[in-house]
């Protein structure tokens, strides 16, 4: 995916610059992009390292387990075939918790294990309702503290880098609810269509 995106941006820019006679600007632009990326990583990187340190403390303190327990009843309601005390419930709860706490390194492997567990009840490589739901929930943002974003805003001179947190909570929770609803609606209309 990234391959196509990168090729497209680079070639389209070069072609456009040639037609508009901005080849010199193009060169400068690419070099300053390269330069910016280094200063970007130095600034953002230091905050990411700090945050990863804090998150690791949270992780070691079994904060995630306490959080998963709160989520479990909700997950049972939202996912049709996930039963209380089942292996997949635990995995889904841990996956969503890792997402919410921003432990993105942990979230993906947990989510994949949950998908594999759910896939055991699927037939002929066809995704089940619950698998679709888990993938859709994971493709909406659940992160409580958008740490990289706040670091970026700080490094670009924002006076109140955190003032976007509350709007983000509002938008991402509405979007997550919307994602679940639209997924359930699609399940139903697919089933009715076949009958």
């Amino acid at each position: 995916m990234l391959n196509i995106v990168w090729i497209f941006i680079m070639l389209a820019s070069v072609v456009y610059a040639f037609f508009t006679g901005r080849a010199a600007e193009l060169c400068t632009g690419m070099f300053s992009g390269a330069e910016d990326s280094i200063s970007f990583l130095v600034k953002i990187g230091s905050f990411m390292v700090l945050w990863q340190g804090i998150l690791n403390v949270a992780d070691k303190s079994s904060l995630s387990e306490s959080f998963s327990k709160i989520l479990s009843p909700i997950i049972c309601r939202v996912f049709n075939k996930v039963k209380k005390g089942s292996l997949e419930l635990g995995l889904i709860a841990n996956n969503l918790t890792a997402n919410i706490l921003g432990l993105s390194n942990a979230a993906t492997p947990l989510g994949i294990s949950a998908m594999k567990e759910l896939a055991k009840s699927s037939k002929d490589g066809r995704a089940t309702d619950d698998m679709c739901l888990l993938a859709v929930i994971n493709s909406s943002s659940l992160q409580l503290i958008p740490s990289t974003l706040i670091a970026m805003r700080t490094s670009f001179g924002s006076e109140v880098p955190g003032d976007i947190i509350v709007p983000i909570w509002l938008v991402s929770s509405l979007t997550a609810v919307f994602a679940v609803l639209i997924c359930r609606f699609s399940q139903r209309s697919e089933r009715d269509g076949r009958l």
Binding site: C132, M152, P167
Partner: protein
């Protein structure tokens, strides 16, 4: 409200430290371990961030980015979306590094506290890289027929972007 949000991160850090200490966790050692992990994930990020920053540098310097924005500007004014944000909004569901590069380009050119910068921030924080996530999740478990999932994820993504515009209009 802006004042309240400044307390969230320090408050959370204090809460985590107290919670971990009360559970008998070696707080400092876990922190140091996390720092090591964080450093290696920053290094892992480097190649793709570098590549996309160069690409975005080219995109801006060639003038193509402004051309694209103007092309879709009628739709933008209908959605109350500043046209500077068009490339960012289009790339967000596809690539994380590319949207990082475009967002920092926006912050640099318009300021992080501008309406543009704030709207880009809210979109960045409340939507995900849809195509990537769906590909990884279904790819890993060998499912071929993904049914309605991509469609639903994309509709939810568009919903998130529209909600970002509405919320930003009210909030800022």
């Amino acid at each position: 409200m802006a004042d309240f949000s400044s307390y969230i991160i320090p408050g959370l850090i204090a809460f985590i430290i107290i919670f971990a200490y009360s559970k008998g966790v070696g707080v400092y050692d876990s922190f140091a371990e996390g720092v090591k992990m964080g450093a290696s994930s920053v290094v892992d990020m480097f190649p793709s961030v570098f590549a996309l920053f160069v690409a975005v540098g080219a995109l801006r310097a060639s003038g193509l980015i402004d051309f694209l924005g103007e092309l879709i500007s009628p739709l933008c004014s209908f959605l109350h979306l500043p046209q500077e944000l068009v490339p960012f909004v289009l790339i967000k569901p596809i690539s994380g590094s590319a949207s990082l590069a475009l967002a920092s380009d926006l912050f640099k050119n318009f300021g992080a506290d501008s309406y543009c910068g704030r709207l880009a921030s809210v979109i960045m924080g409340s939507t995900e890289t849809v195509f990537y996530t769906i590909a990884v999740y279904f790819g890993a478990c060998g499912v071929k027929n993904i049914r309605h999932s991509l469609k639903c994820a994309l509709i939810a993504n568009i919903f998130g972007m529209i909600m970002s515009i509405i919320v930003c209009n009210f909030y800022f």
